[in-house]
Symmetry: C2
Subunit: 118 residues, 2 copies
DNA sequence: CCTAATATGTCAAAAATAAGACATATTGTA
DNA sequence: TACAATATGTCTTATTTTTGACATATTAGG
């Protein structure tokens, strides 16, 4: 019996990777969304679920947004929509810089796939 | 040196990003190193310091390596070098699959920079 | 001989994170 | 009039992760 050994379909770890990136780089994920289009917390939650299938807990997101503002990565303005008040965030130049640094590093990592000896 | 400081240098978050990636994707970093060339723990520590300027604590690395082996991402063989025994690790097909999944996701992220509406 | 370097391992305590409840207010809809 | 959805916030309690110490053994070099 040749080749009986499991020729399993190659495992896909994508889901796992997406989850890990979302957990550990949630700030950058959020900055990217805000960069694309100014947004408020509730919309970020809905958007993230649609785009990535990830349910953000609001108890995690709102403190994060406030922290990002305090650090100067985003700025917010309150926008009344009916009787509700939305806190609409937009990215700052500093925030853009952080996102860019992240992407620069990703590119670097991809290019270095062939490292042998240094 | 004329007018060197007239323009604010854009902040570079590279160091911070490298640290975060190393902390959260240490397993993949290690797998990459092992994929390039079979290696033992101590060498990984030295290599990582040279390549990325990151000092891994051996108290964190060795349990990680054992875990990676238990999960089938690497396999090891003991190689005597003088009177010392090195546990040389090599990557498995499953390990390669994980690294590939990671890189696929990075590529995907870079391509999606221009998302507007989905 | 002694110290630094090589080499691998465990484990408890400390620190950081995450989950989920508590809190409040408006609007749309059945 | 309820209930679901929109909207933002805090805070305590798990859970997880990290730090750093304890442990052991060999080799190289001053």
């Amino acid at each position: 019996m040749a080749g009986v050994e499991s020729e399993k379909l190659p495992q896909n770890f994508r889901k796992e990777i997406v989850q890990r990136v979302s957990r550990n780089f949630l700030d950058i994920l959020v900055l990217r969304l805000i960069q694309t289009e100014p947004m408020w917390g509730y919309k970020i939650i809905k958007k993230t679920e649609k785009l990535f299938g990830i349910k953000l807990r609001h108890g995690a997101l709102y403190p994060l947004l406030n922290q990002l503002e305090k650090k100067g990565f985003v700025r917010s303005r309150k926008v009344a929509k009916g009787g509700r008040v939305r806190k609409v965030y937009e990215i700052t130049p500093k925030g853009i810089q952080l996102v860019d640094s992240y992407y620069d590093f990703l590119r670097e990592q991809l290019q270095r796939l062939d490292i042998k000896e240094v």
